[in-house]
Amino acid sequence: MNTQQLRRLLCSLSILILLPLAGCWSSKEIENLGFIVGTALDLEKKDPDHNGHLLTVTNQFVTSETIGSGTKDGKTQQKAYKNISETGDAALPTLRNMILRIDKRAFAEHSKVLVIGEELARTLNLQQTLDFFIREQEMRPSGLILIARERASGTLESKNLVDIPAFQLIEMTQGHDRTTKILPPMTLTKIQGKLQSGSSFLLQSVSSIKGEIKFTGAAVIKGKTNKLSGFLNEEELEGITWISGKGKGGLVRSFDDEGLPIVYEILSMKSVIKSHVDGNRISFDLIIESEGRIAEHWDVSEKDFENGYLKRAEQASVKEVKRLIRNVLNKMQHTYQADVSGFGNKLRIEYPYVWEKVKKDWDQTFSEVPIRCEVKLTIKDYGTSDH
């Protein structure tokens, strides 16, 4: 063997050796992973000898064992998920402590939902709590953020063995196309801007009642402190959806003169906020337009296709929508003193100089601003019935 052949042999050998040496290091088989599909954050009260706050992180794991046992028949069913909680004073060290307790490598790239407990949201700045989750590369930017009434870990429990609560929460938010009682989803990427901007905003709130999860209105996060200041119930959330005009469907239930229900189904909605500045006086006009159909009415004597009746039905619905809006505006302006519907943003766009002056104390200013409200509903359609 001459030197050239030897050199060639050595060259190819070293490539062959280098490949497995340099490669494979990041290889991890899918069945050895524990997918974190949901995370719940709670504040721990029982901490007598600790000055700071203690966090409890609950991770919902889905592993090959929990999935496999769900599909194989003939076995006694076990839960399709595994919740593991750990307590510590910051998010990552707590998460890393979980390594001591599970055989799988935690893998958060399929993390779907992050539920924050009421207590935690009231006490700590959300930006602090979420810092790790926004910073971490493995977290999905599309992960959803919810606020739990009471403890967050409860929302990741389910009575039904085959269900995975984190997925249920995700799928429930899809319902926001068909009702005005659910907020559009707030993801990890979107919340960054909200937290930085200093303006108040809403997060979907969820509660767990006897092992069943339910969306219950919205949580109001004050822009100044980034802390939870209170909740809006479902009816108030309906008002918010009308103000924002972002609803894609839903119902308005009103009553006619005889007290019988008329149900207006929303086909489209549009809202325009106009700001006015007159000297130091700031005011807003809110114009809402919507098209819809009569989905249900109980007054058998009335005829749908008579214009008179349609007008009356429209009037009744308008009254109801106005009531909803008034109701929530009252709550926003007086109870929480938080502008969560983008009135301030509109002022910023239309009167930037005025905004510069008022933005520091906007939530305070907002509470005294008059808002005129105009609602126009059009009934286009009354379904496949003529009475």
């Binding site: 290889s27 088989e29 899918i30 997918f35 893998f107 997925f167």
Partner: protein
């Protein structure tokens, strides 16, 4: 002048000449010598022929009978016999023993007559050919059912028969140094680049081999890069395919004794095209072609993508799918690469076995093998069901490629792709693809870039590339191939 002393030359003396021939080929059992007297006279004559290669009826009726019975008077002279007696088409004279023997061994009959200085060679060759049948390796639903046969003159005739074209030219060459074989280079005179024809001719003349049994030999001996996994010469059994290649300005090589004709130069896209693409309307053809490119991609990268997703990039799989893959892989003892290798090798063995089996057993093995792989292996927990799907899809995809030889190179390359996926994940797959691309871009087939019309990019030729535009829109020939006639309609 005649050299009487040289034993290689005929003397005119019947006994000596006959002994000379007998000495040369008389030991062969299939060579027949028939001695007789020319009708009415005492002139001795003999015919020598090879049994089986010659037409016995022709010899009996038109040579022996004419010479023995119809010889009515006249002198036994060369002119008289060739002009008046032998009712046979092809008559030639031969002086040298060597060339006479060569002709006799290819089916002619030699006639030696006492007193005549030269031997006569009579064309009595009977072509051993089979019926023209539908090509087995390239079946189409629509299109001519003709396929080449093993006989060269039949094959050239098939091309001539395609349509009257005065420019269709055949150039006859001989290959093989010990066993001489006839080979024809076919091209269209006013379309094909003369340099290309010259290059093909030169490469074929440079072939140094004792024997060239099949056109595969020619292919391997004239291709540009023998280390490349891609075939740089296309082979086909279909005359229509050859003809359309000729009309593109390509050159075809037909070898005697094989139904596979060769087409050069070749581009990669040709491997994924079928003649049917042009026979069907453009819309289905357009979609089928896209489908074939997709199948080629799956057949090359299918298992390697699976490996990189399952072992490296689990975050890229949709969550529900990731969960179901995770559930099915529960209890599988091997990492994804081993699992994939087991399945791929099994299916290759199965395919190889099925290829050589008699027709009656083939399907049985397919079913048994399929069941063993698909059902039992999953039941036993050796592989996961998803892997079976991936492997099956890959195998089917590789059969969707119309050119068998192109399918082989993709199947071959699948294995290095799998290894690079196992080592570096998707990054490795991308590296491998880049490596492959750089090789393809460098590769040339008879001076034509292998991946044209992508590189060099000629948008005018994209009308007939990954998609097939309506025939009315395909107006130009591939630029790098045809030198002059770039427009199809003249």
């Amino acid at each position: 002048m005649k050299q009487n002393s040289d034993p290689e030359w005929f003397t005119g003396d019947f006994a000596i000449d006959l002994a000379l021939v007998r000495n040369e080929i008389g030991h062969n059992s299939d060579v027949h010598f028939r001695e007789f007297h020319i009708g009415g006279t005492d002139v001795c004559a003999a015919i020598i022929f090879v049994e089986g290669l010659t037409d016995r009826e022709l010899i009996d009726k038109h040579i022996i009978k004419s010479l023995m019975m119809s010889f009515t008077g006249g002198a036994v002279s060369r002119d008289f016999i060739t002009n008046r007696v032998l009712s046979i088409g092809e008559v030639a004279e031969e002086q040298a023993l060597k060339s006479l023997v060569a002709k006799v061994l290819t089916g002619s009959t030699a006639l030696l007559i006492d007193g005549l200085p030269n031997a006569l060679v009579l064309g009595t060759t009977k072509e051993k050919s089979r019926q023209i049948e539908e090509p087995v390796s390239e079946a189409t639903v629509r299109g001519p059912r003709l396929g080449f046969t093993e006989t060269l003159c039949d094959n050239t005739a098939l091309l001539r028969q395609h349509g009257e074209n005065a420019s269709l030219s055949f150039m006859k060459l001989q290959v093989g140094q010990r066993t001489k074989k006839e080979l024809v280079i076919a091209y269209i005179k006013d379309i094909a680049d003369p340099d290309l024809v010259e290059e093909v001719k030169k490469r074929i003349q440079n072939i140094k081999a004792d024997d060239v049994p099949e056109s595969g030999y020619v292919e391997q001996l004239i291709e540009d890069n023998y280390l490349s996994p891609f075939t740089q010469v296309q082979n086909t059994e279909r005359p229509d395919r050859v003809f359309s290649a000729l009309m593109d300005g390509r050159v075809a090589i037909l070898l005697d004794g094989t139904p596979f004709a060769l087409i050069v130069p070749v581009t990669f896209s040709m491997m994924l095209h079928s003649p049917e693409d042009y026979y069907e309307r453009w819309l289905p053809s357009y979609l089928f072609r896209l489908l074939r490119y997709l199948a080629a991609a799956i057949s090359l990268f299918g298992p390697s993508l699976y490996i990189s997703f399952v072992s490296f990039h689990q975050g890229l799989i949709p969550t529900k799918l990731a969960l179901s893959i995770m559930g099915t892989r529960d209890g599988v003892p091997f990492p994804a690469i081993i699992e994939a290798l087991i399945m791929e090798v099994t299916i290759e063995i199965l395919r190889e076995a099925g290829l050589r089996l008699p027709k009656q057993i083939g399907p049985t093995i397919g079913i048994v093998g399929g069941l063993v792989i698909g059902e039992a292996a999953v039941q036993a927990g050796i592989v996961s069901p998803i892997m079976v799907i991936v492997v099956a899809l890959t195998a089917i995809s590789s059969f969707a490629i119309p050119q068998y030889s192109a399918g082989i190179s993709l199947r071959l390359l699948r294995f290095p792709a799998m290894f690079s996926a196992a080592v570096f994940g998707l990054y490795g797959v991308v590296l491998f693809a880049l490596f492959l691309c750089s090789h393809l871009v460098k590769l040339k087939s008879f001076g034509v870039p292998y991946v044209s019309p992508i590189i060099p990019d000629r948008l005018t030729n994209w009308t007939d590339f990954m998609i097939r535009m309506p025939l009315k829109k395909i107006k130009r020939r591939m630029k790098p191939i045809s030198a002059n006639g770039s427009t199809r309609k003249k």
